[in-house]
């Protein structure tokens, strides 16, 4: 009897699918990917913590919509798991309480893209020169400045 896609899913995939806002996981050459614009970031982080995942970094990418796509790059054992979501009115909840390793990454995305990470303990300038405002990466090179087209892989 052939397995259904649901039966083929591992336990951690099933658990991730239950996070509010989660979408289907895609297996690519460089690991597992999820594009979930309305993801409950705190619930996702709590689950990844329980699964003992390692947070490698968080990437901010300017979106043509004006918001910022935020990608959480985890390693679950030896498998890279990349979870992409989007800011809502330029903000997302901070996951520093769950992953201390997120502290600098969130500060940097605030510096470069102006994203507000709610409840971050210290959203001070990290690498941004004092003379430049938060979000100075926007409009200077990156998809949103070239013809207004959505340049990166669309979310969701």
């Amino acid at each position: 009897m052939t397995e259904t896609p649901e039966q083929r899913m591992t336990d951690w995939e099933k658990a991730l699918a239950t996070v509010p806002g989660a979408t289907a996981l895609e297996r690519r050459m460089d690991g597992a990917w999820m594009g979930a614009p309305a993801l409950d970031v705190r619930a996702m982080a709590a689950l990844m913590r329980r699964l003992e995942a390692r947070l490698a970094t968080i990437t901010g990418v300017a979106s043509a919509s004006g918001e910022t796509d935020v990608i959480y790059h985890f390693c679950l054992g030896r498998l890279p798991v990349n979870v992409k979501t989007r800011t809502r009115t330029h903000a997302l909840p901070s996951i520093v309480q769950v992953f201390q390793a997120a502290e600098w990454s969130e500060r940097e995305i605030h510096d470069l893209y102006g994203v507000e990470f709610v409840d971050h303990p210290n959203l001070e300038r990290l690498i941004r020169p004092p003379a430049l405002p938060p979000g100075f990466f926007r409009g200077r090179g990156g998809g949103e400045s070239r013809g207004g087209e959505q340049a990166t892989v669309p979310l969701g």
Binding site: M29, A56, V61, G143, V153
Partner: protein, 359 residues
């Protein structure tokens, strides 16, 4: 009464500019706050304003010590996006250059560590041996640093005289085995200054997400060369080196043993170097729309690249996360409770690279 001492951003003990604000009670460190950003050059932004060929040259200049691994990881991300398969000979040459880089980086670090503990003789010996490695790098690539060896699809130069490179590497291995590694692993002075200080427990290492020799010295069994093999590491086999004490001595011993593994890998790669082309694909490759990540094991740990493309000749996003970015914050944990005079050695023991952190 507690007081604060600023160390940096310019200080003789620091390899590169960053600031540690140290709170002390007497001479005991109570806390450290770290500030970075003094070497910020907006390289990610510059990379998003230049084409892929220019970007390979640009990302090499993120760092002077681990330059080649930046080009390697950037090229790997582009190759994943473009579906390019790198020829076997190029994969082996990539390993040779990456391990030579690890050797020169670790030798630079052992020299600085020796200087920090006042062991001038070993500082001189480390840098003298490092010169041998720089000569091999010059033999292979034409440069001592910024080798310009990698391109999207393979490598830019072949290794012409394999025997000459092999005999030079064998000479380096003999000096390493006879002089350097025994001193750093057994010498009484080195042990006295490094054992039991700057401890990063396994639990704190996991919480901070540290990588590389810093993680392996705290008992974390992780190395990208084994966990997500790239280039020719799977064919060559790879022995991971770990320790459990998490102190400065453990980080020293892990790096010393890794150097031995590096020379073994270089000799194996030179002996097994396959015939064939050194690059695949066009000189100006087309990188289609999409996004990809790539990871490699730089001398300081996992190096991560994220690349996004809109099908044009210029990437829309180049994100770089260097190993020092996650290792430097762990210094805050390592220093608490130790003597102020041990601070230079403790912070040096994670091999902090601010050029990499700030980009």
């Amino acid at each position: 009464m507690p007081y604060k001492i600023p160390v940096g951003p310019f200080h003789p003990a620091l390899e590169e500019p960053y600031k540690l604000s140290v709170s002390c009670q007497g001479e005991t460190i109570q806390g450290v706050t770290i500030e970075v950003g003094f070497s910020f050059r907006a390289i990610e932004l510059l990379a998003q304003q230049r084409n892929y060929i220019q970007d390979v040259t640009l990302v090499e200049r993120v760092c002077g010590i681990c330059s080649g691994v930046h080009t390697l990881t950037f090229c790997m991300a582009a190759e994943t996006l473009a579906g390019l398969v790198v020829p076997d000979r190029a994969r082996f040459i990539r390993v040779i250059v990456a391990e030579l880089e690890r050797l020169h980086s670790h030798l630079l670090w052992t020299g600085i560590a020796a200087e920090d503990i006042g062991f001038q003789t070993m500082f001189m010996e480390s840098f003298a041996l490092r010169e041998q490695v720089m000569d091999v790098l010059e033999m292979v690539s034409g440069n001592r640093v910024h080798y310009a060896m990698n391109c999207i699809g393979g490598v830019l130069r072949d290794i012409g005289n394999v025997d000459a490179v092999l005999s030079a590497v064998q000479e380096t291995r003999r000096t390493l085995e006879r002089d350097l590694v025994p001193v750093f692993t057994k010498n009484v002075t080195a042990r006295a200054r490094t054992a039991g200080i700057g401890v990063l427990t396994k639990e704190r290492a996991l919480a901070r997400g540290v990588v590389g020799p810093t993680a392996r010295a705290s008992g974390l069994d992780m190395d990208v060369r084994r966990d997500l093999p790239y280039a020719a590491y799977e064919e060559l086999g790879f022995q991971i080196v770990t320790a459990s004490e998490g102190d400065v001595r453990a980080r020293l011993v892990v790096r010393a043993m890794e150097m031995l593994e590096s020379v073994r890998l270089i000799e194996a790669a030179l002996r097994k170097l396959p015939e064939g082309p050194t690059r695949a694909g066009a000189v100006f490759p087309i990188i289609p729309t999409g996004e990809a990540t790539a990871r490699s094991e730089a001398p300081r740990g996992e190096l991560f690249y994220y690349l996004a493309s809109d099908g044009s000749d210029t990437p829309t996003r180049v994100k770089v996360r260097t190993p020092s970015y996650v290792n430097i914050p762990a210094i805050e944990d390592m220093c608490v409770g130790y003597h102020l005079a041990d601070l230079p050695l403790i912070q040096a023991s994670v091999d902090p690279c601010c050029s990499c952190t700030d980009r």
